[in-house]
């Protein structure tokens, strides 16, 4: 083997070892996040409140007894409002907390890579939050066969107007929406230096998602500032609008015999992806500055 081949093999092997360390550290950090969540009474109380509220809406509304699509429509706004609030609670102190205790500095002396730390924090918090959202929505989905008068004896797998498959799509899209909004709050947590700033930014984000962006779009359309043909793109820019559009087009589909006009599905999916990647990139960039290794 030539000297160069030997050097390439060595570099490859050290690259593989580094990648393995990054993944291993990521899971160590993620495990700590999960353990932190189950030991934080406030987060457990919020999770319980969310679950009870969703069950209450499904039980009391027309959805649980009316079929999967009515249930989706009942829960859609509810998920749009509550998931950003939950994401703020789960995410806004996730990285800032370690910065404030000084543990972020200490972690860096353990040669933890930014990807391991941010990825671990996000993965741990995301697992907990997605499990909560998906678990709760799936449980209330089970109400439908029991409460609907015309009880289905099987889950439809075709494009029937009402089917469990459509509801599963809604649950899947809710999980994706949860991941995107959580990424945004983790990004805020990494980029800010004080609790007050982080909370203010996270609350402003939640408010903008739930109310602000849609209100601005409606006002823009009404005043003619926003042209109608550009609406699909603008709807995709807001995670809430993009999520709503995807749910209406793929999990609801037809209302009153007419197809739902809910923007462009590809643009909506792309919008969510850009928010997700952008937020996590900000978190990676801002979590700590790049410092040259002092080891020689």
């Amino acid at each position: 083997m030539s000297e160069r081949d030997g050097s390439d093999t060595e570099t490859e092997s050290s690259g593989r070892e580094r990648a393995a360390n990054v993944v291993q550290d990521l899971f160590v950090v993620a495990t700590r996040e999960l353990r932190t969540i189950v030991r934080t009474p406030a987060l457990l109380a919020l999770a319980a409140a969310f679950a009870v509220s969703v069950v209450g809406v499904a039980w009391a509304g027309t959805g649980g007894g009316g079929g999967f699509v009515p249930l989706t429509l009942d829960l859609l706004t509810f998920v749009e409002v509550l998931v950003p609030l939950l994401a703020v609670a789960f995410g806004y102190r996730s990285i800032l907390g370690d910065r404030q205790t000084g543990e972020l500095d200490v972690l860096r002396t353990f040669d933890v890579e930014r990807l391991s730390y941010v990825g671990g924090v996000y993965l741990g918090r995301a697992l907990a939050l997605v499990a909560l959202v998906v678990g709760t929505l799936l449980v209330v989905g089970l109400f439908v066969p029991f409460l609907t008068a015309d009880i289905p004896t099987f889950l439809a797998i075709n494009a029937a107007a009402d089917s469990g498959v459509r509801y599963v799509r809604f649950v899947f899209l809710s999980a994706a929406f949860t991941l995107v909004v959580l990424a945004a709050t983790v990004g805020i947590s990494a980029a800010t230096r004080t609790i007050r700033t982080a909370f203010a930014l996270a609350a402003a984000l939640a408010l903008a998602l739930v109310l602000g962006i849609d209100t601005a779009l409606v006002a823009g359309l009404a005043s003619g500032v926003i042209p109608e043909d550009g609406l699909a793109v603008l709807l995709a820019l807001s995670p809430n609008s993009a999520f709503r559009g995807l749910v209406l087009s793929s999990a609801v589909g037809v209302v009153g015999g007419a197809d739902v006009a809910a923007g462009n599905s590809v643009l909506n999916a792309l919008g969510l992806l850009v928010w997700w990647i952008g937020s996590l990139s900000i978190a990676l960039w801002r979590v700590w500055p790049r410092v040259e290794s002092i080891e020689e």
Partner: protein
């Protein structure tokens, strides 16, 4: 500790650091030998914590370089105790160190137990970190810093807020670590403890080391009886004066002061 380890464990050269228009460090150089306890003392705001951040590789200096020879024996190169260590609530002291241990190759639960015993927290290992006293929290921070046998230990005011017995205990742990070959840089205001335990004392003032040497050398050079008196002479202050520094200013020359007999030099 590795017997074949290099004699110099830490080398910092010409470190410059500014925050906005305030110069905090200006051309600071420091070399710490294996097994040496080097103390950095200085007035509040003189840049001790900033220097330790840079030495730990946490902050990049505006200028200069830091080098720590790769240590074959330890699982990491540098251990760091921040000025106010704090840990996540809801975890025990053992859980906390266990988390850090998982980030190091070859460090397991037995090492965590041994580290807790080493810093004197063996009896409270399973107590929640939220219920630890300030002194115990600092000792847990020391435990986190020494985990994985780093070749260089950086301690930022480890004795701050501790009673004299705890300060003595902490410095005796530091002395034991140095005896085992660990190099220690400690920023501290506990001058009696520094005088008793440090091999070298660097007085950081107005951006650079105003004096460096063993405690005995500093006493001789300043013609004083204690490191506290020597410190006051070097930073040109009287007992009761405010010594708070807000960056590098124009340093008064010895000729301009009443202490004409003071002739201490920076080590650069």
């Amino acid at each position: 500790m590795n017997e074949d380890a290099p004699a110099t464990a830490l080398r910092a050269q010409a470190i410059d650091q500014s925050f906005g228009d305030v110069d905090v460090l200006s051309g600071v150089s420091l070399s710490v030998a294996r097994g040496e306890v080097a103390a950095v003392v200085g007035p509040n705001g003189s840049g001790k914590s900033t220097l330790l951040h840079i030495l730990a590789g946490i902050a990049a200096p505006d200028g200069g370089s830091v080098a720590v020879p790769r240590e074959a024996a330890g699982a990491r190169s540098v251990g760091y105790l921040p000025q106010r260590p704090a840990f996540r609530d809801g975890f025990s002291a053992r859980d906390t160190l266990g988390f850090y241990a998982q980030l190091l190759d070859g460090v397991d639960d037995d090492d965590v137990t041994a580290t807790l015993d080493r810093v004197g927290l063996g009896d409270v290992a399973d107590r929640s970190v939220g219920s630890l006293s300030g002194g115990m929290t600092r000792l847990l921070g020391l435990g986190e810093a020494v985990l994985g046998d780093p070749s260089v230990l950086l301690l930022d005011e480890p004795g701050s807020g501790l009673d004299p017995a705890m300060v003595e205990r902490l410095f005796s742990v530091v002395g034991d670590l140095a005896a085992d070959g660990t190099s220690v840089v400690v920023a501290s205001h506990e001058l009696p403890a520094v005088e008793a335990h440090a091999d070298t004392v660097h007085v950081l003032d107005e951006g650079n080391f105003a004096a460096s040497g063993s405690p005995a050398e500093l006493l001789t050079e300043t013609d004083t009886d204690s490191l506290s008196e020597a410190f006051l002479r070097i930073v040109r202050a009287q007992v009761g004066d405010s010594t708070v520094r807000a960056g590098v200013g124009s340093r008064r020359s010895a000729a301009e002061t009443d202490d004409d007999d003071l002739e201490v030099e920076a080590d650069e």
